[in-house]
Symmetry: C2
Subunit: 137 residues, 2 copies
């Protein structure tokens, strides 16, 4: 297997960790242009849903739903967007993005226009991550 | 509940039907600019994964994986993209899109640039749908 940046993402983005779940790691996206943008990636290196064992796939989807619910409770968006793409990094990772009717691209997908990345201060990352963690309990 | 176009989509796009599954309807997307683009939508009117009962959510994700595998077998893409957005039509529907390293937007998401819709002849739709159905059996 060639180098996979997702296999080492949990270590590489240790300041963005939200929670480790049985089958996935969940991190806050560094670019917070879309507030609450979160990534969930499966622990094993797999690239398509149908490559996973049934029990892993089922658990992964519950973990996705669990995290989306916490984001919903924290941000109260108009919709959650769930996207599993992987054209650049095929290791299964979900983009979970709260969307608001007031955001600049609404109702289009987040990819419809490029934007400058919005990075936060270390304190702001910590506060927002803590708020999501509280909603996961 | 206000009018929902997804609740009537199975009837409206009856020429694009691929298969009815226990918890979802699966139709071929009319725009085939991305070959194999398929939609899977849940039978009940629900808008977020975490609003579904656990057994429905689990079954729905299996149906999604089942259809993706058939698209993979039919088209042999480089990657499948799975997207649940719903900003315009919130009724849960999955965009399942085979992606190829040769397609015009690769490796970007399909939404990165707009395109003219590509419609097929009735015979072409039937042939492509039949090929997917064969892979589902």
């Amino acid at each position: 297997m060639s180098y996979c940046p997702m296999c080492s993402r949990w270590d590489a983005d240790s300041d963005l960790r939200i929670i480790e779940l049985p089958h996935s790691y969940v991190i806050f996206n560094r670019d917070q242009y879309f507030p609450g943008y979160t990534l969930l990636f499966v622990k094993e290196h797999a690239t398509e849903l149908f490559h996973l064992d049934l029990n892993v796939r089922t658990a992964l989807m519950e973990e996705l739903s669990f995290v989306a619910q916490a984001l919903y409770a924290t941000y109260r968006p108009d919709k959650i967007n769930y996207e599993l793409l992987g054209n650049m990094v095929p290791h299964i990772h979900w983009h979970i993005v709260p969307r608001f009717s007031t955001d600049s691209l609404w109702p289009r997908p987040i990819w419809a226009e490029s934007h400058e990345e919005l990075h936060l201060s270390p304190d702001e990352y910590r506060q927002r991550i803590e708020a999501i963690r509280s909603a996961l309990l």
